[in-house]
Amino acid sequence: MSVQEKYQTLLDLANQNGTTYELSEGNEGTLVVTGTAPSAEAKQQLWDEYERLDPDFKGGDLILNIQTAEAAAGGGMHTHTVESGDNLSKIAKEYGIQWKAIWDHNRDILNHPDKIYPGQELKIPM
């Protein structure tokens, strides 16, 4: 049975509840489902079905990367919570991007690139 066959009810459900998705093949034949669900409920339905098919999520043959439409509208931003000892260069290195990119995306909450404080939530362009 192909991986697509194994998870066909999950994909059917996605089509029914308005989730748009794309399939690709990851490591060792892993089925990678990347998509956007119209609501948190729709996304939860997909996860419930995944759990029904593989109760411990241990098959190692599926990646279900579904975000909700609201999250998608955020523009693929990731949030990093500043910790004690962080600076923009260090955070940027962690994500493999330039510090200036973080600075540019957070001018609204930062006054100076050297002044960030623990607990601040920085938008990280990925």
């Binding site: 066909q8 990851g26 990646i63």
Partner: protein, 160 residues
């Protein structure tokens, strides 16, 4: 009793005649129209003696299943031979390099309170170890799924 029997016979006869009434060419068109109406693309239909054979390459398994179901639903089609194939999938690329991906996952896990999970990433394949409270098991698994890796070896255990 006799009336009931006659009714069944006549219904059967009508259905039989209706089935025979359509030529293979009519059926082929009917199936093709039905597929178009159901937004199934990429499927070619051939009908011989009421048996529909579907060929072509479709986007994924859901389209394949839908095509076969649609064809079966067409009146006069006796059976469907599904010879469609699903399109080979493009190769998934990790959303970030391994160290960046690891950093992102660990950060997201921490934010969701999955502090007992350790993740390592090699060529986009994420391996997660650690013991997680039963109640947050699914949540932690989800965080890792949504990180943008291309493989997932889930070795997490549940703490009951």
């Amino acid at each position: 009793m006799k009336i009931k029997f006659l009714t069944i016979i006549s219904i059967a006869a009508v259905m039989f005649m209706a089935a025979c009434g359509k030529s293979d060419a009519d059926l082929q068109k009917a199936v093709q129209d039905k597929l178009t109406a159901d937004n199934v693309t990429g499927v070619t239909v051939a009908v011989k003696d009421g048996v529909a054979t579907l060929t072509g390459e479709v986007a994924d398994i859901t389209v394949k299943n839908k095509a076969a179901a649609s064809a079966r639903g067409v009146e006069g089609i006796k059976s469907v031979t599904d010879s469609t194939t699903t399109k080979p999938l493009p190769v998934a690329t990790p959303q970030a390099a391994d160290p960046a991906l690891t950093g992102k996952i660990m950060e997201n896990l921490k934010k969701e309170g999955c502090t007992t999970v350790t993740v390592s990433v090699v060529n986009g394949k994420m391996t997660a170890t650690g013991e997680v409270p039963d109640a947050s098991f699914a949540k932690c698994v989800r965080v890792i799924n949504e990180a943008g890796g291309t493989g997932f070896d889930n070795q997490l255990t549940r703490r009951k």
